[in-house]
Symmetry: C2
Subunit: 338 residues, 2 copies
DNA sequence: ATCGTTATCGGGAACGTTCCCGGCTTGGCA
DNA sequence: TGCCAAGCCGGGAACGTTCCCGATAACGAT
């Protein structure tokens, strides 16, 4: 594991490190013959510049960090692919981390990446993150930061989100139009931005169609603690039980799909079902699941692009924007009229 | 982004960097009072040691690299979770990369991680990797290396795999016992270790049950190039078409499940179906898919454990082992007898 | 012959740490 | 009174680069 360094080359060719360094970067002030010698020797010995030494000197790493709650989630893995595509194109490496929906892990990862001198950070908050001081101070100290999907209100920077309000509105309207009236909304932690936006879309649709809102139909779920059965039991114990479900995430959609089937509730006969989800298997489920699809890959691309812009033209402090991408409702068998 | 350094502390407290350094590491030869001063000042100013400077000096990073073909694959994301669990416990960070099933990307990622001085590398080969010189030379130069799942024969180091032979054997035997005779085997690139092992299990089962092998029933698929329809057409154009499918990966299982449904082939009436897969939705598919489940999380844990052992006791050159974990056949509706 | 130019190269500081050496006070003891 | 050993601390090299200054030589111009 002892790699060859510029010093080694210098010693071997009886040159100074400065000369070797310049020869390698093809500087004009080095004799072509010397350059050739250095280049050839470097090639032969597989010289690779030490990025750590460079990072130490330049205080940057030509890499960006990504922190997502979990990668075992189609939505996030698609986003990461978009990020990688954009970063790769512009010569940056991507370091991927998971917060595992844990606040402590998130803080740990953020600090680790910052200490490792990533040139910028892309992130989607963990569902248990309430305090974002760790990010705020980093941002104030000048670390370029772009949020996507689960964004905080308190930090002013670029953000990329799906149009959650309209996605939820569309889905709810679709359910209402196919004759449902008691739509259960299974959603994420109340603190998350996506939760609020989706709830507001849901409420707006109810209002538009003159259907009264019943807060008993809204269930906030932790991703980590499993209470599917309890929630379903509570919902179906209502005097007026749900005849439709609108779920807010891949994970929730699957859990409740399974939960409903376990209690032999028929979809879509007994209840209709629509999920916010980028599951690539929605079509293959039994029955095929109606989903609100988010442009995950594109979100990643855009977020990475914004971050790299931020990184590369640091001097002028930019006007931060929030990019909102539209969602697509895919109606499948799970939400057909009864 | 200007972080406080030991030098800053030294200057502020009128001490030397050596003293500050020692005070921070609680050295015995520093006056308790001085220690207190330094510690408090460091705390107040949020001093964090610069890991890059440390890496440069110590030639290590307290982090390990993981390269998988793609993270949008339940099998790999579960493995990564296992790796992270094990690494976290022992104080190491994990850097995740995707080769995207591309040889060039794999080489690039490997070199990048090595240059960044990861202390070791965990990897599962891309399906397009044939030449592994890049890994061989790294390994010879002393970089600890552990392979999992898709392993090369040419490098002697720790390896962690599922018992692919017996998994395929079990699944094939199960299909044969439920009355199938023409079992199509849809599998990965022929070069991969997992492909060979699974094929051998498939063949062994055929032989045990006295069913002749027909090479027309085996289809090798690239992950990147999509030829599902062609393959299905070819298979069903056979004089004696398949009455069962054994697929070798998450991705293939889903594609062919969808492909079969598109051509209105009934499962399990017309063909039975079993897939190597860690899909968490297998139960929810239509029909629920029989799968051969691999202990992905555990594989990650074990692989990471072996790697860390390798890293931490470098001096003695160990005896390398290949850990083989057993798979589990989960029979569901897709492979019921006709 | 002297001088300014150009072409080519080397020295050394700096990035943030650690650590080897060496140095200065004390104070205790002979 | 003198000496040695703690106890405590600073100087500086080293890790691999880059880059700012110089430095040296040759060479044409004055």
């Amino acid at each position: 594991m002892d790699n060859i360094t510029i010093k080694d080359i210098a010693r071997a060719l009886n040159l100074s490190t400065s000369t070797v360094s310049r020869a390698l970067r093809d500087s004009y002030e080095i004799n072509p013959e010397t350059k050739r010698l250095v280049m050839e020797y470097a090639e032969e010995k597989h010289y690779r510049p030490n990025p750590i030494a460079l990072s130490l000197k330049e205080n940057r790493s030509l890499s960006i960090g990504v922190i997502v709650p979990e990668i075992a989630n189609n939505y996030f893995s698609q986003t990461i692919n978009g990020i990688e595509a954009a970063a790769y194109e512009r010569g940056y490496h991507v370091v991927i981390c998971q917060s595992q929906e844990s606040y402590e892990r998130e803080v740990d990862k953020v600090e680790h990446l910052a200490a490792r001198r990533v040139d910028g950070l892309l992130l989607s908050l963990s569902s248990n993150t309430v305090d974002i001081e760790h990010l705020k101070s980093l941002h104030e100290r000048g670390l370029p930061l772009v949020f996507f999907d689960r964004i905080p209100a308190e930090i002013d920077t670029h953000k990329v989100v799906a149009d959650n309000h309209s996605g939820a509105f569309q889905a709810t309207a679709h359910l209402l139009e196919s004759g449902r009236r008691r739509i259960a909304h299974i959603t994420s932690q109340p603190g998350l931005s996506i939760t609020k936006e989706r709830l507001s879309g849901y409420l707006a649709a109810l209002e538009e169609y003159g259907v009264p809102f019943d807060e008993n139909l809204v269930k906030y779920c932790s991703y980590t603690f499993d209470q599917v059965e309890d929630n379903l039991n509570a919902l179906f114990a209502l005097a007026d039980p749900p005849d439709a479900f609108l779920t807010a995430a891949d994970r929730l959609a699957l859990r409740y799909y399974a939960g409903l089937q376990k209690r032999n509730t028929r979809i879509p006969e007994d209840v209709a079902f629509v999920g916010f989800s980028n599951l690539n298997v929605a079509e293959l489920l039994n029955p095929p699941m109606s989903t609100i699809l988010q442009p995950a890959f594109q979100m990643g691309q855009i977020a990475a692009g914004l971050l790299l812009d931020l990184i590369e033209k640091k001097p002028k402090s930019p006007v931060f924007q929030t990019v909102q991408l539209s969602t697509e409702l895919h109606v499948r068998a799970s939400s057909l009229p009864k």
